[in-house]
């Protein structure tokens, strides 16, 4: 028994050097060559950092495309989902209110046009994406607010739509931050 205790302690120490020292340092070194140098890829506007490409942020102004509802208000230091069950009455009321809000600000769309992702909270509370349909229903509003041609905005949406992996696997998505930054850039150049 005593032999096992000593061996256990020594083995633990040795493995810790390998698994908690050498291994993560190799990963950290290699990660330094990635896009965001291991700290996450950042997005800039006019040279200023305005967010991370992978992290959604709150958009409430009418001239921007809105992202999904977030249970934590897009707090990137406290990710979480709503954990609301599918039959919870308070939750269903909340969803119903979100539908009304969307209909109010996008008066031309029909109820049946609203995709579920625009009225439900994401798992992380930081979902950077919305569905293609989620962007399409906002085109008219954004175009009006920015006094742009609807077609121009629609083209921008298409340009910022991420197709399935290799065109074969998984859903399509639209990164809201990238789309909005592209909108802002458009305004300046025109």
């Amino acid at each position: 028994m005593k032999k096992y205790i000593l061996q256990s302690i020594r083995l633990t120490v040795v493995l810790m050097v390998l698994l908690c020292g050498i291994y993560p340092l190799i990963v950290a070194y290699a990660g330094g060559f990635s896009e965001g140098r291991g700290g996450g890829e950042k997005m800039t506007r006019n040279g200023k950092v305005v967010g991370y490409a992978l992290l959604g942020q709150s958009f409430t102004k009418q001239e921007y495309f809105w992202g999904r509802p977030s249970a934590v208000g897009y707090n990137a230091a406290g990710s979480a989902g709503s954990n609301k069950g599918p039959s919870n009455p308070d939750y269903l009321q909340q969803v119903s209110d979100r539908i009304d809000t969307l209909l109010k600000y996008n008066p031309t769309i029909r109820r049946a046009d609203i995709p579920a992702d625009m009225v439900t909270a994401s798992g992380s509370g930081l979902d950077p994406d919305i569905s293609e349909q989620g962007a399409i229903i906002q085109i008219k509003r954004v175009a009006e607010q920015r006094q742009l041609n609807e077609k121009v905005v629609a083209e921008l949406v298409v340009k910022n739509t991420k197709k399935p992996l290799f065109g074969l696997f998984g859903p399509t998505s639209v990164n809201v931050l990238k789309l909005n930054l592209a909108l802002d850039a458009l305004k300046k150049s025109s």
Binding site: G38, G40, L54, G81, R111, P115, S122, L168
Partner: protein, 572 residues
Amino acid sequence: MNTELLGIVATYLLTLVIAIPLGKYLAKVFAGEKVWTDFLKPLESGIFKLSGINPKEEMNWKQHMKALLTINLVWLVYGFFVLIYQDKLPLNPDGNPGMTPDLSFNTIISFVVNCDLQHYSGESGVTYLTQHVVMMFLMFVSCATGIAAAVVFFKAFRDKTSVRLGNFWDFFVKSITRLLLPLSLIIALILAFSGTPTSYEGKDQFISVQGDTVNVSRGPAAGMIAIKHLGTNGGGWFGANSTHPFENPNYLTTVVELIAQVIIPIAMVIAFGFFVRRRKLAWIIFGVMTIGLFLLLIPTVSSELGGNPALAKMGISQTTGAMEGKEVRFGPAISAYWSTVTTIVSTGSVNSMHDSTMPLTGAWQLLGMMINAFYGGCGVGILNYFIYLIIAVFISGLMVGRTPEFLGHKVEAREVKIAALITLLSPFLILAGTAIASYVFTNHGNAAWAVQPQNWLNNPGFHGFSEMLYEITSSNANNGSGFEGLGDNNVMWNTLTGLVLLLGRFLPIIGPVAIAGLLGAKKYIPESAGTLKTDTLTFGLMTFAVILVLNALSYFPALALGPLAEYFTMLK
């Protein structure tokens, strides 16, 4: 076929393409045959030398279990104190506090037993140091513990009669150097180049497009997320686990993480076949497990793609399926596949929030964890299956009037008793645990704990009951996922699940290894016309029936009170 379903098919096929050769390779590694990774031998000898271990020293099954329990105890004691005092230790750029004793008790047990139930949130509850020397370290070694235990079980059936079953440290260290470490490195690099952070910088701050100030938790997560999946651990770097865009940046990483969590459980089954030279038996076991997977998977995918009927009543479009708690870049199909996989193989990481899945999905998730042997956790999956197999051998032996035998060894009263006790343990822990929790919730709603019992549940009614049932089931299965709405960081949940975790881990390891050790030591009886063959389709179906009947009898009432009741209420 639509792209989301195609994604599932591709992921599963790719899993097999990797797992089957990996199984062959593992059988060779543990049998000490020549393999291409033998260049790592000097590293292993170095580790043994520094630890004062002679890897050639043969052990019997009891010595194996003593070694296993001793080193696990060392980790428990060490980790408990490190977590309590983490605020005073270095590498804490975000200034996070130390854990309370009850939270530390729960957390350390949970990581030692390969469960990773997290009653803290990664961003605020741990430091970069503890993420490394406690969380990530234990992810490697707890998984290696499971694999080593399974190899002891393999070893008992390799030769006709054997008492000497190899060296525990040898199996343990080799599972790290020959399997976990190299594969983790590959996965970590894929993640790092997909956007998962790797640097040691602390929190960042930026001003968003609309002018809000946003704090961003970061940290060297890639290495941990790799072993978290490969080792069927499941504990996230961030609170939101693999729904978090940093842990799981895109569809490709979701596929990689999905494959990573299933390859070792499948490979262990294949390895068993090669190791004991009974390949047909292994394929039958694999077949039963796979049927189990698909029986849980298909209804799950269908209910998630169908969307929430309560939202359908509001007249919105649910062509994308149920989206509460899910991420757009994954979509509901692969999220449903993930939820099945993570519950059957005891990973417990999530790429969508299980609390918000449809009622029937919840039932399938629970059932996956209750059975806990369709592929199952690293190493322990096949051990759990072995218990069902012994019960099946016993029952079929009685049915056809033949002496129950397994691989040439007579299965007698002692072995069947152990198997029966282990089979009864799960329902006992799950049902008694849930009963205690429900009792406290109902009768002591205002106990002065960190979270008052009356505020435990995030959802009313049947779903609230499911939250408690899920927490205990997940602990017993050493799974670690949760219906996360549950307010579980308080003294009762921390203690109760801590105890369930311990019992639910070590007894189901010791039990099967003991049975194997006892059987292996018995005289070998050559196969004859009177032998009950275990590598036939019929026997496979028999085992499947045993699994189904045992679990249905044990858990149907509890499932009926939770998810099933919620489902039928929603139909109205």
